[in-house]
Amino acid sequence: MKIAVIVFPGSNCDVDLYEAFHSVLGADVEYVSHREHSLAGFDAVMLPGGFSYGDYLRCGAIARFANIIPAVRQMAEDGKFVFGTCNGFQILTEMGLLPGALKQNDSMQFVCKTVDLTVVNDQTAFTSRYQKGQTIQLPIAHGDGSYYADLQTIQQLEDHHQVVFRYAGENPNGSLHDIAGICNRQGNVLGMMPHPERAVEVLLGGTDGLPLFQSLLDQQTVRTEAE
């Protein structure tokens, strides 16, 4: 499995995702600039956290006009794997690959801490190494992470088991239904506010993020006709 980490102007967790795959898991991973037009040869694409385009206008709103975005969209359509954390999740919703939007935290403050999450769906390409109902701990670090969608959309997410992670205990940002991460209906696109890439080494305080990346590496790569 070959993995792309997209670098937008203002991305800053690109290094963290890259190193999780590269130095911790020894996977085949490359940085890809937002200026590129193609993701040919990659099996999965990671949209990192950070402040793409300074978070100006709305978080993730401007990144969706980058050159690379049509290729990301194509990956999703082809059934390849697309993952966004934090700003990456915001970009996925702004692109329309995932429903809803991320609002400013109810506290109106940026919050960086480790939170408890419940694994709600262990049947996705990113969560097969977790157990449904398992409580894990991952760091969050965001100012705009309050998940919002209209009630009908939320109901659809619940009905189709698209809520993948939920905050357990305290809800740190006011997300509806305690939603921390969701996937598309096909299960090949995952967006989440918490940072699994920050929880892959004992030295740094925990490894609960590792199974997410290991689950992805377990997947069969998807070949499209063009390849």
């Binding site: 800053n12 950070g50 402040f51 978070d55 960086c112 801490k113 670090a141 030295l203």
Partner: protein, 741 residues
């Protein structure tokens, strides 16, 4: 229009007095340096470059007391930041800088641009910034909604800038005292890492080489920031309060990536690089030319400008943020432009290096400045200062012993003092983990990072206790350095070097200059003994509001090296059954303590002397024990004394302690002595630790599993539920910040 003033009119009307240039200086410039009258633009440039902020003309004689060299020092003061060898061909680059006045005026932007400025200092040396710390000193937030707002906005400014840049803020300190009510202190520290081969300096040389301007456009913001920072801060200067700049961290992130790409991948294109900080283009260009012993010829019409109709004077003195000046080898201008274009940034040639040492500026087809570079940078008149021991220090007075009857009640109260209480409300607004190398984040003695790809770690801390320096400048100066060293050693790191921010009142007051002099002497003596030279720093004077000076606050930022990151030591107790030791003797060290302030409402008394040689020997012994893996936790005693220290060791662990301190009085549980620690040690290492640390270590008891803190004192026993203490400690600041009173 003012700019039309002729040299003769300037001489006559003396507008330079408003820019903090004295008549004596003006006459010296005209008579002895230029042998003619300076024109309007030139006078403005002199005023900025000869300000205390740029020239240190007042503090220089005192700063010479600091040791600046050592076996690991690759670059001392005088550049963007200090550079220290951390083995394996790597180096750390660090500096702290104050942004007190802008933060007081406009907390959000003042704090944000403070962080932005220090980060540029780091990456201009060729290093990638990997951590920030912030030393924040506010007025009391209880019953003061304005100060709460300012604290909230300051923290948000620090957070928004650092978070957007993707540089973790891993520690610092937040204190509250009435003396900062009219003058907040924001001292921003940043550390970067690089291969020693990548080091760059602010140097401009090589006749014909290009002077290139990169980054944001120049506007009228922040003109006179340097002279602004060199003036008293009273209500009558309220009109000057528009001088604050606005930060754009996104622009800075792009600027950083572009600069690092040029520096690291194309070192031969680049002669030198410097941040445009205080006094904007003039200070960066003149300092670079001075360093390179060159002349410089700049055309200001080429400077990218955000507003039309700016005068030469305004262009040169603007403190618009996120700009850098590069000296580029002739012929590589286009190459550099291409790199910057990749990041959607403009890079513009605005001039050339010349022979002969003249600093020449063209604007609108005229030569608006033609003076020798050295007159701006090297010929500044040092200003001798009168000094006098403050009346309050005329005789030594022992601190009164506070009356503490109920140890538990006092402990609970101490843990809720904003200076002692958990700062999590503030620090969790900082991304402390981005770049995934943070081993110990905010809330410990020192922040700790691992150095990716090596076994090394870096510990760093910022410490400034204005109360101690106020009560005893010399011993307070020693203690500032000793406290920082204690924090570094507590983490299991070897102290390497320091940076500092010296925050004082008006140095023209002989008593304040005496404080500056004697506290620096104390710091210097401590640095010399502890072998931690001063590699960078800054001086912030005139921290006054309506004639009321802050406590003299000497902030020390220290960096330490952990040779094996697996041996990092945290402040948290690890296992029930571990032995608990008190290192050091606690006496009646109440002068300037939190308990004194809390119970007496004010601080008083003389500090106990500190034997810095003994401190050094102890720190070496403790570090060796940590490196041998004998110490499971270590925390130094600081604000709130032993009582707060023990609580912090237990918070979050679920553990308790059963301790007996024999003859210690109840009040002494809250004394704040120098060089004291609480460590925990596995039972099997008890003998070896006692052998290594000798009399310094006193066995006090052991860690228990029951979550209760039991402390036997000379006349009472304290028994506390640790989780109850923790709730008080955690809730104090959120409760204050959210109060409506």
């Amino acid at each position: 229009m003012e700019q039309a003033m002729t040299p003769e009119e300037i001489k006559e009307q003396r507008p330079y007095l408003d820019w903090s240039l004295t008549e004596h200086e003006y006459n010296y410039i005209a008579d002895s340096l230029l042998h003619r009258l300076p024109n309007y633009t030139e006078t403005g440039l002199f005023a900025a470059m000869w300000s205390e902020h740029c020239s240190y003309k007042k503090s220089k004689p005192v700063l010479r007391l600091f040791p600046n060299s050592g076996p690991r020092v690759l670059q001392g003061p005088g550049e963007g930041a200090g550079v220290v060898d951390i083995d394996d061909g790597q180096a750390v680059v660090f500096k702290a800088e104050s942004h007190n006045h802008p933060t007081t005026v406009e907390p959000y932007q003042g704090a944000a641009t403070g962080v932005g400025g220090i980060l540029r200092d780091i990456f201009s040396m060729g290093a990638r910034p990997i951590a920030s710390l912030d030393s924040l000193h506010f007025g009391e937030i209880k019953d003061d909604a304005t100060m709460r707002y300012k604290a909230e906005q300051t923290v948000k400014g620090v957070g928004d800038y650092g978070n957007c840049m993707g540089i973790p803020t891993i520690g610092g300190e937040t204190t509250f005292d009435p003396c900062y009510a009219g003058n907040i202190l924001l001292n921003a520290f940043s550390l970067g890492i690089m291969d020693q081969a990548d080091m760059k300096r602010g140097n401009a040389s090589g006749v014909g080489n290009a002077v290139m301007y990169v980054g944001a456009k120049t506007g009228r913001d922040g003109i006179h920031g340097a002279t602004f920072a060199s003036k008293d801060f009273s209500a009558e200067h309220a009109t000057q309060r528009s001088a604050v700049q606005v930060g754009d961290p996104f622009m800075e992130k792009l600027l950083m990536e572009a600069c690092l790409e040029v520096i690291r991948q194309h070192p031969y294109w680049l002669v030198g690089i410097q941040d445009m900080g205080a006094a904007g283009i003039v200070s960066s260009s003149a300092e670079m030319a001075s360093e390179g012993k060159s002349g410089m010829d700049l055309n200001l019409d080429l400077v990218p400008q955000r507003e039309p109709g700016m005068s030469a004077y305004e262009i040169m003195l603007s403190e618009s943020q996120e700009r850098m000046l590069l000296c580029v080898e002739k012929g590589h201008e286009k190459d550099v432009q291409q790199i910057f274009a990749k990041y959607e940034l403009e890079a513009v040639v605005i001039g050339r290096i010349t022979a002969g040492g003249q600093y020449v500026l063209h604007h609108d087809g005229q030569i608006v400045c033609d003076i020798p570079v050295h007159t701006l940078v090297d010929d500044v008149l040092e200003e001798p200062s009168a000094e006098k021991r403050p009346v309050r220090l005329s005789e030594a007075t022992p601190a009164p012993v506070p009356v503490v009857t109920d140890a538990l009640a006092t402990l609970k109260q101490i843990l809720q003092q904003p200076t002692v209480a958990s700062a999590r409300y503030f620090t969790q607004q900082y991304d402390s983990q981005v770049r995934t190398s943070t081993v110990v984040g905010p809330g410990s003695d020192a922040g700790v990072l691992r150095v990716r790809g090596t076994e090394k770690g870096l510990a760093m801390t910022t410490d400034g206790n204005g109360r101690f320096v106020y009560l005893d400048p010399y011993v307070g100066g020693i203690r500032a350095v000793a406290e920082a060293a204690a924090n570094i050693v507590a983490a299991g790191a070897e102290p390497l070097a320091i940076t500092d921010c010296l925050n004082y009142g008006d140095p023209n007051d002989p008593e304040i200059f005496w404080e500056l002099h004697h506290s620096v002497k104390g710091m210097a003596d401590a640095c010399r003994e502890l072998e931690t030279p001063v590699v960078s720093g800054n001086v912030s004077l005139y921290n006054e509001n309506n004639g009321q000076a802050i406590h003299p606050t000497s902030m020390v930022g220290m960096v330490g090296l952990i040779h094996d990151i697996q041996r990092v030591v945290t402040i948290k107790a690890a296992n029930a059954g571990d032995r608990v030791y008190l290192l050091g003797k606690i006496g009646d060290d109440f002068a300037g303590s939190e308990v004194q302030k809390m119970l007496d409402g004010d601080i008083s008394g003389t500090l106990s002397p500190v034997d810095i040689k003994e401190v050094h020997a102890h720190l070496k012994d403790l570090l060796a024990a940590e490196q041998a893996g004998l110490v499971n936790s270590a925390h130094d005693i600081s604000e709130g004394g032993l009582g707060a220290c023990l609580s912090e060791v237990l918070f979050g662990t679920g553990l308790g302690m059963d301790l007996n301190f024999g003859k210690m009085s109840t009040a002494q549980l809250f004394a704040e002595p120098a060089n004291c620690f609480v460590i925990t040690v596995a039972p099997e290492n008890q003998q070896e630790i006692e052998q290594r640390l000798g009399d310094w270590a006193q066995l006090a008891g052991e860690v228990t599993a029951d979550g209760r803190l039991k402390v036997a004192l000379s006349n009472q026993e304290l028994v506390a539920d640790v989780s109850e203490l923790e709730t008080l400690y955690e809730e104090a600041i959120p409760c204050l910040m959210k109060s409506k009173a």
